[in-house]
């Protein structure tokens, strides 16, 4: 400790293992069993979606009329769909789209949320009032109804980057535009308390600009809750995307996503072909529960009060 007067040897000053904050957090995270299980499951899923073209002998789009509607078997572990396509292969290709949308929409939402929240919290007064009323407004909009209306408009728009991959870009845009509110509130709260702290005061005294104080001094201190909120937001956006695609307003076939695979399975399932609905939904469930547990683990690990 800095207050001790006895000189310490070099060996004592540098322990075997540097106990940085990050390594402490990692230790904490490792003790959260479910978070570790979640990380492994999510890791395997991501691995599968990246390398599916090497791992699977089947194509996600070529139909095989002789193998239509086959229940799960050794050759097709999750069965086949109405066109005889291997469901497991399609699920991993679909995972690519679903996970990418979840992640990209979250990055967009968090960016908007951080900007609005930090401006509102830092400047306060009228700016804060206006921005927070806007946030309230977005929170009282019925979310899925707005998503559907925006998705309807999207279908008519002719912008290539939004249209690619069955409207993937557009879905990212609308999910991002509707998912910044919670982050904005969180960041604003953090800014309100942090901006009164001495380190901000001292930065201001030495003449730092507003943007420097916001981005270099305050924002890094809000990283922890933002990381946790963003993790949980990824899960939420994955559910929103699959819900929208399930209703037929999301990503359009033939681009597979877990949501539009469920949509296609609706009629089949009433005929008893359960696997077409079961496995895509199971994937959404596994992904979301893994991410939620990881978020829970991160919250514990990054909470400085909890470090033993």
């Amino acid at each position: 400790m800095a207050t001790t007067t006895t000189p310490i040897s070099a060996a004592e000053a540098l322990p075997h293992k540097q106990r940085t904050l990050r390594s402490l957090a990692w230790q904490q995270f490792r003790h959260h069993q479910m978070a570790m299980v979640g990380s492994v499951i999510l890791g395997l899923l991501i691995f599968g979606t990246i390398f599916v073209s090497f791992l699977s002998p089947y194509s996600p789009t070529d139909s095989s009329l002789r193998e239509r509607r086959e229940p799960p078997s050794i050759t097709h572990p999750m069965g086949t769909d109405t066109l005889g396509r291997d469901l497991m292969t399609r699920i991993f290709y679909g995972g690519r789209i679903s996970l990418t949308i979840g992640l990209a929409a979250t990055i967009l939402g968090v960016t908007i949320g951080v900007i609005i929240g930090s401006v509102a919290g830092y400047y306060g007064g009228k700016t804060d009032e206006v921005l927070m009323r806007m946030t309230d407004l977005f929170l009282s909009l019925p979310r899925i109804f707005m998503l559907i209306i925006m998705a309807m408009l999207l279908r008519e728009v002719e912008i290539p980057i939004l249209k690619a991959n069955g409207n993937m870009g557009g879905i990212i845009l609308i999910l991002g535009l509707l998912s910044w509110t919670s982050v904005a509130r969180l960041v604003r709260g953090q800014f309100l308390s942090l901006k009164e702290k001495e380190f901000v005061e001292s930065a201001r005294t030495i003449g730092a600009s507003h943007s420097r104080i916001i981005f270099k001094h305050i924002l890094p201190n809000t990283a922890t809750p933002i990381i946790v909120a963003a993790t949980l937001l990824v899960a939420r956006n994955i559910i929103s995307e699959s819900g929208l695609s399930f209703l037929g307003f999301g990503v359009q076939p033939p681009t597979p996503t877990w949501g539009n695979m469920l949509n296609a399975a609706q009629d089949e399932m009433r005929k008893g072909n359960w696997w077409m609905a079961f496995f895509p939904g199971l994937m959404i469930f596994l992904t979301v529960i893994s991410i939620n547990y990881i978020g829970d683990g991160l919250r514990d690990a990054l909470d400085p009060r909890k470090v033993k």
Binding site: M34, P71, D136, L137, L139, S140, L141, P142, R143, I144, F145, M146, I148, I149, M150, M152, L153, E156, A235, I239, S242, G243, F246, L247, G248, F249, L262, A265, Q266, M269, R270, K271, G272, W274, A277, F278, P280, G281, L282, I284, F285, V288, I289, N292, Y293
Partner: protein, 340 residues
Amino acid sequence: MAQYILRRLLYSIPLLILISIIVFFLISLAPGGPMSAFEENPNLTPEDIVRLEEEFGLNQPIYVRYWKWASRIIVGDWGYSNVTHQPVLQEIAHRLPNTLQLMLVAFLITLLIAIPIGLYSALHQYSLFDHIATFFAFVGQAIPIFWFGLILIIIFNVWLNNPISPHHGFAWSHFTDCADCKPLLPGGGMAPYGVDDPTLWQRIKHMILPVTMLAMFGMGTYTRYMRGQTLEVIYQDYIRTARSKGLPERLVVMRHAFKNALAPVVTIIALDLPGLFGGALFTETIFSWPGMGRLFYRSAQRGDYPLLMGIVMINAVLIIAFNLLADLSYAYLDPRIRYD
């Protein structure tokens, strides 16, 4: 109190106006929009279309159109559906009770399960029950409810039959394989097909699956939240005081802990309401439940803009009304809060 309610109602007016502006502008961005139905009609010449556009006032700037639309809304003229040509308000009024019925029953069931479990979990923290309940709360939070609905149909409508026979009780094939077998529970609608005046039992049977599906929404969240809030409360000084003065544990929990833990939960539930309407949309779509959510879904498919606008507005009004209700019950539960 009356003054507070009045103030809140006044505050909600600008909110509703803003919502209506946003939705109106979004919908008028839609290409074709209200004229698309006429453009597809081969009997109309382009000149007719222009004439109709003038007649409907569609060639006017958007703020003029918004103003006209808004002033008609206020006097109760919500326009006509593009598809059925029925008044929008009438179409909504037919379905709103069905939606509210579904939501109310599901919501009560959610609370009746989630709140006791959350409370019990917290009072027996780290017990086996607590671990299991917390795990299931995580599961409940992660289950996409539309998938849950499909699973319910597979199990209770496709697989399980009535009467349950040894050969067909749990068959991997469709129930029609068995001549005298009927699905255990109906998988759609509010009454058997073609029955206009269903019995109470028929109604209940048709409600079981959709209500179960919708009750799943919020189950996990509320359980975890109730548990968390109870844990916050039970280490407070006033609980220790209550115990030390010899109050029976049951009264300590019910009178002191429960009520104080419940107040913040009410807020979370109110904030979740827009989500519950969304859940109802999925439930009604999957189970062909003739409610507002399904009407919205069908209108979106058909591009029926007047109906879409109407439903969003009704929804916004309901959400604001329920939020007010939640605030009032908060004041009832937490005596420190007085609205005057």
